[in-house]
């Protein structure tokens, strides 16, 4: 399945190309590595995304100032944000909100500030910027995203950003020529494993021109990952082995340090 990932991406690109005849531009992109293997001593790294804007005869001749927004979303999971409050003189978790299927990693890159690329309305519709990305919360019986300045939402984004897992950089995309662009995708040490979706949106004069998608996969390898997987999937065997290891260590110690 992992080997097929690049094929799937080629397929995706092909599908995008096929579906895009209506618009005048095409986006062609590629990620420097479609399968990133993370070893236990991995301390962070960076992927590079390259691409170019292909014009055809339908493109208005005077169109040259493009804007680009790249959104990278990691594997999704449910997360709970809890807030501590002072009760009876001590700080305890009181209130909490559940975020449903939110990306474990989320990065938004563009070539200039979002408010210069598009109007607030377009920013909201196209989810430009961490403030405009939909993060669904369970609020009582309802499922909804809330205003960007909701304390739980902003705390959630802030905490994820502190770990480098959520980021937005409005000068990360660079145009090497008016149509050729590149951006780096930084991956911190704590990146969650799984499939990452990359969405590239091309704007011109405040409107979306075209978009395309790509993806890459992060796989952790090595002994530590094997341990983590075993612990989750074969709890009993793992527990037995750990207990035996403890007994062996204790027994070895009693032999090594035997006084008589």
């Amino acid at each position: 399945m992992r080997l097929r990932a690049p094929l799937a991406i080629i397929g995706l690109v092909a599908a995008t190309l096929a579906a895009a005849p209506a618009s005048a531009e095409r986006l062609i992109v590629s990620v420097s590595n479609h399968r990133v293997t993370v070893t236990p001593n991995y301390s962070g790294g960076e992927l590079v995304l390259f691409g170019s804007v292909e014009k055809d005869d339908k493109t208005p001749a005077n169109r040259s100032n493009y804007d680009l927004v790249v959104t990278v979303a990691g594997p999704r999971a449910d997360m709970v944000t809890r807030r501590k409050e002072r009760k009876f003189g001590i700080w305890i978790n009181t209130d909490s909100r559940q975020f449903l299927q939110v990306p474990g990693y989320l990065a938004l890159f563009s070539n200039r500030p979002f408010d210069q690329i598009a109007s607030p309305e377009v920013q909201r519709r196209q989810q430009l910027g961490l403030n405009n990305v939909t993060l669904v919360q369970r609020v009582g019986p309802d499922f909804a995203d809330v205003v960007p300045n909701d304390p739980f939402r902003s705390a959630f984004v802030r905490l994820r950003s502190e770990h480098g897992l959520y980021r937005e950089a409005t000068s990360a995309v660079t145009f090497l020529t008016p149509t050729l662009f590149r951006t780096g995708i930084p991956l911190p040490a704590e990146v969650p494993i799984g499939t990452y979706d990359v969405e590239i949106k091309l704007f011109s004069d405040g409107a979306l021109v075209t978009k395309t998608e790509s993806a890459f996969e992060i796989v952790k390898i090595g002994f530590e990952q094997f341990v983590a997987t075993t612990a989750r999937q074969n709890g009993l065997v793992y527990g037995l082995v750990t207990a035996l290891m403890a007994l062996m260590t204790g027994w070895m110690a009693s032999i090594v340090f035997r006084k008589d």
Binding site: W91, V227, L240, A246, L247, G250, F257
Partner: protein
């Protein structure tokens, strides 16, 4: 040297963890205790999630108590019958403890409960030990004899039914208080990630009147079995036991314990109890401070589910 802990999910310095294991091992060897009550807080203070710390330290204590139990067994300082009766309560208490642990974790209050129980237990026990040690020292200075065990004095515990003769300990005692003591220690151990030796030994001496010749060896057997059981249960129900972390702790711990035991023999008993009391008290106060001061960040995030259903 950085090493990635698979379950704790953070990179740590191997030598730091090894040194922590050795330091706690030294203390545990010196005082003849498991050291879980020091190890778990230390791990929490370096940034390992309390739940993972509690579950992993259980296996670390299993290792150190096993090496201890072997040497006590050789010296015939273990009362097998007493250990067996304690274990009846111990396994039950451990199962109950792991169940409570899982329940509190689902409520999101586990970290608070771990911290609170540390504060209550450690400040109480530490304060009592310190007071006891201080009084013993003053009495020794005053020239009066130190009477640890008053022979022939009977309390209500000795009036309970279901009496059993524990031959090696030379006591005749009801099984009810023994099972209850085992239950309490098993429960505390599973919830707090401690062997409970520092509570068990005084309980056995003062409440059950077990002679000092068999008390430490027998308590180690209980610690060993409850901790092996706790390791298994934590691994099966919560998947929180970090084997890599546990192994580093064990290696540091068993080595440190040997040097600690030698150092302990050079210090007088009441001084030792005074020191241990201070240490226990200090850890308890450290937890209390943590709870009372305003946390740096009022918000925290925890992942609750993976792929969509």
């Amino acid at each position: 040297m950085q090493l990635y802990l698979p379950i704790a999910d953070i990179p740590v310095n191997v030598f730091l963890i090894l040194a922590m294991g050795a330091a706690v091992g030294f203390v545990s060897g010196m005082f003849g205790i498991g050291g879980g009550f020091l190890m778990t807080p230390l791990l929490i203070f370096v940034g390992i999630a309390p739940a993972v710390a509690v579950a992993s330290v259980a296996s670390h204590i299993a290792a150190s108590s096993f090496s201890g139990a072997i040497s006590y067994w050789r010296r015939r300082a273990i009362d097998p019958l007493l250990a067996a009766v304690l274990l009846v309560g111990g396994t039950l208490g451990t199962a109950l403890g792991v169940w409570t642990f899982t329940f509190l974790r689902s409520l999101g209050q586990l970290d608070l409960m771990i911290a609170l129980s540390y504060v209550i237990l450690l400040t109480t026990v530490g304060g009592l030990m310190f007071w006891e040690g201080l009084r013993a020292m003053l009495r020794a200075r005053g020239g009066r004899p130190v009477a640890l065990r008053k022979p022939g004095s009977h309390v209500w515990i000795h009036g309970l039914p279901l009496k059993l003769r524990f031959k090696r300990s030379k006591i005749y005692l009801s099984v009810i208080p023994v099972v209850v003591v085992g239950l309490v220690i098993g429960f505390i151990g599973a919830v707090m990630g401690i062997g409970g030796g520092f509570i068990l030994v005084p309980l056995m001496i003062y409440v059950l009147r077990v002679p000092t010749s068999t008390v430490i060896g027998t308590s180690m057997v209980l610690t060993l079995v409850t901790m092996v059981f706790a390791t298994m249960l934590h691994a099966v129900t919560n998947h929180l036991v970090d084997a890599v972390l546990a192994l580093i702790l064990m290696i540091g711990g068993v080595t440190g314990a040997q040097f600690g035991a030698r150092a302990g023999q050079k210090i007088r008993g009441e001084h030792l109890r005074l020191l241990l009391g201070l240490l226990v008290l200090a850890v308890g106060i450290r937890f209390a401070v943590e709870l009372v001061i305003r946390p740096q960040d009022l918000y925290s995030i925890r992942e609750t589910g993976g792929a969509p259903p």
